[in-house]
Symmetry: D2
Subunit: 303 residues, 4 copies
Amino acid sequence: MERTEKNTIAVAFIGLGAIGEPMAKHLAEPPFQLAVWNRTREKADAFGKANDARVAATPADAARGSDFVITCLPTSYDVEALLEGSEGLLAGLRSGSTLVDCTSGEPGVSRAIAARLAERGIRFLDAPVSGGVSGAERGALTVMCGGAEEVFEQALPVLRSFGEKVVRCGPVGAGHALKSVNNMLLAINLWSAGEGLAVLAKAGVDIDAALGVINASSGRSNVTETLVPERVVTRAFPRTFRLALLAKDAGIAAAVAREQKVPSPLMQLASELYRVAHTELGDLADHAEVVKVIEKWAGVEIS
Amino acid sequence: MERTEKNTIAVAFIGLGAIGEPMAKHLAEPPFQLAVWNRTREKADAFGKANDARVAATPADAARGSDFVITCLPTSYDVEALLEGSEGLLAGLRSGSTLVDCTSGEPGVSRAIAARLAERGIRFLDAPVSGGVSGAERGALTVMCGGAEEVFEQALPVLRSFGEKVVRCGPVGAGHALKSVNNMLLAINLWSAGEGLAVLAKAGVDIDAALGVINASSGRSNVTETLVPERVVTRAFPRTFRLALLAKDAGIAAAVAREQKVPSPLMQLASELYRVAHTELGDLADHAEVVKVIEKWAGVEIS
Amino acid sequence: MERTEKNTIAVAFIGLGAIGEPMAKHLAEPPFQLAVWNRTREKADAFGKANDARVAATPADAARGSDFVITCLPTSYDVEALLEGSEGLLAGLRSGSTLVDCTSGEPGVSRAIAARLAERGIRFLDAPVSGGVSGAERGALTVMCGGAEEVFEQALPVLRSFGEKVVRCGPVGAGHALKSVNNMLLAINLWSAGEGLAVLAKAGVDIDAALGVINASSGRSNVTETLVPERVVTRAFPRTFRLALLAKDAGIAAAVAREQKVPSPLMQLASELYRVAHTELGDLADHAEVVKVIEKWAGVEIS
Amino acid sequence: MERTEKNTIAVAFIGLGAIGEPMAKHLAEPPFQLAVWNRTREKADAFGKANDARVAATPADAARGSDFVITCLPTSYDVEALLEGSEGLLAGLRSGSTLVDCTSGEPGVSRAIAARLAERGIRFLDAPVSGGVSGAERGALTVMCGGAEEVFEQALPVLRSFGEKVVRCGPVGAGHALKSVNNMLLAINLWSAGEGLAVLAKAGVDIDAALGVINASSGRSNVTETLVPERVVTRAFPRTFRLALLAKDAGIAAAVAREQKVPSPLMQLASELYRVAHTELGDLADHAEVVKVIEKWAGVEIS
């Protein structure tokens, strides 16, 4: 990899959403030299002004001259859609550079993108993150990577700018597969905790006592330790991670399971339940709000 | 409650199984005065000798003169079966005494037992425990109780002898309901982790890396933090908690859900999957071995 | 069995509901001598007037002097509730008479009722029916019986008055078990046809053509041949058999499956889906209306 | 469409399997002029000799000069794989001719194939069949077609040679969607009948009586009327339609449901159960043998 300038790493960041924006901020300082692009131009302009970063007119423009292009978009299809055309990433990416896709995407699509890029000598790493907005702000995300060992190592300085735990877990697509499974476990742990606590609430069991016991016992999970006490029992339901996205991720995990021919009744059923919940609660609901569907069906409130 | 002697609490312990025996040991010292009974007499004799406790000839004999009778048996039906007859607990239990049932039992059966006891002025507390053999040995169990506040408070000295976190969570049956739901969450978290990790293993994802990431992320649970790394990945599968018992507990939770008219597709499906696994793996298998059924179906080993 | 009068069979009919009333009419003629009782007295009075039958003041009064008492009630618990007390059936039933329970009931409760009756020398036959209101009117019901061969044979004249296909299928409870499984198959065939047709409708497949093909192929069932074309596609949804009752029957089949320790993921999941649909659609909805829940989730109409 | 000769229709038949061979026979007589191709050349040679048909050396050779090319292969991917290359169908198909795909295939793949053909002026009709070997022999298949009205009408003489009920049910892919849903209903009706009858068998209900009752009642289906009495109860299990293929079809239906965003818990779970059964029973098992998995789990035989 040739660098644009000694010790400087040229990075383009595509997608300044809730997670993307605080991630990009960590790349707005030396040794990084940052260009940004966002579908809604205003966001990019504001970011550029606040962080002294170049605001690119097109994805191609952002990619031009970059050592690394980072994408952080809703789906793999959004990444795919930015590749082609005179304004697309491929028109700007140079041989030897790397596309780091932080989207919570699909392994199969990533493998196709990687193959397309390889034709031009461009490298690919899928690198979805977990840790939420606050993790992104603190540069403390977990980054799970899929790609060649060498590509991963070269990208480490970039990944470590926003990541605390940065792990290579397999070939291209492995990061996306792992992220989808992690989120499927979250989805299942959440739905089953909802069912179980609704049962206990109707049976007259004190929910705070129940959570205390479960969290000292074998049934505990991140959901019972954090999500339920902070968001459900308080009825706060802050909108930090949309149900629509968790439903999408659960769908990806279910698809990978089918692709791998792994019988997975729980994952497949859970994916359908999230599809139902998404239909019932709409596009803006937070993921923790699925509990409201269970509560409606049960005729009880978990609190 | 009148005490047999100033400051002494007379306790009978019924059921010296894997968990019951180390629990009973904490009651073999002052201020407790302990009698024990076990279906297999040899176990009781050995315990009596080692701990200087009275070995009762029958449940009635154990109960006679006791302030508290503690039962720790496989199922609520075993408790029910010990009540009646000339050698049964009812023949020995005196008015004002308390039956503390530490069995992982059924709320409905417990309510029936409590009603039967109430006719004779005997109190009832369901008080199942979690924490395993090691928690029992260290006197560090979590004890989840169902029963009247007053009955709970009076039983506290006994419960604290083996319990670190002792909680009253509702009326009679609440302890059993909570224990069953905790174990159902364990069952679901375990099965779904098995499905998800089998998918990742087949997709070429490094399992240690995957666990590291999940345990730093939103999908983590006691299962991914403890059970899978210690028992599955190592292929150790120590036999500490039988699948047959977890399947029973899952069945209880599913039954409570139906009783409470809570639609619970995940819990009901999970209960069936554990029924299948129990059939496939037999009565002696440890609960973590359910993963082997998933592995067989998937054609992969999680390691 | 002694008869009240040569060639005359004294029958009491308890429960003049949608199915019960047209059944009872067939017993209002010689050789039968009919007494009726109904919770809502007005219904019994109107029936008595129209059919020249004795209207009993209480269940006991109806049972008194009867060779056969027929119950046709919503649930086994309703039958159980009519047994005891000074006005209950047991106060009127004489030794040697037979209780024929046409309720779509529960095998376990029926076994308990049979045992209670046997103490008094009274026989029991569970004899649920299928064929709907029109089958009842035409005396063309299918009657599935559980009980001793001898009891069944003696009851044949009564059963044939309203039944065309009258079958003994096993011991006490067998009729109820079979009825519940039949209705569970109806429930599953209906729900899966709803899912499948919703998919086809969204995919732009002509539904009439689809039904024509399915009904000439391996996927056909009573649901696709009758229920869907007559009730769903026409949007008629006549209220002939309440969803609440089908959900109850599905619940019974699911319970029998668990009692028999048969892993039954499809039946258990279907039972939960009907619980959800019942919650969504309320107590008055017809069973075919479950399709509306699927349609709402899918965002399409099957027509 | 120009014809090779007045009143003669030139047809190529690709895939002389269990269903394909008897279908092709109906096209070996005037007005049809038949060429055949089969992966295993010996089969094609034997067919050509017995039916006086031209045996083509390659798919391209078969297609050359044909008005219609009929494919009848295991999966859509097999059809796709025969298109390209110097020996592929595209090398032989002429503009204005029609590819009729009788494979039980995938709507999405068919739409892609249709688009590829359209570039060359070749038409496409998906036309999967039902009715089995005997239906194929008698020319009495049901043929469900997806494609333009005009393409369908022109293909009718060919389709009617082996089809009794020939229906156009929508655009390209509609035939494959419908076939998959029909087979999914078969799959679900079969599995649920297996569960229900296993329950009844364990509960001591006479299975012949049970089938008699169900088949006179609302729970009846092609499965209970035909498949179970003829194949399961008799323990004959003839191998006529492989479980592997039904599992594939169920998987297609489940995929179409997801593509259409229809929440479909029963279909998704059924698809997983067939995946498990396929793993347990292997590639050669007949579809009715799935009952053996249920029987093993239940510990009972349905007979």
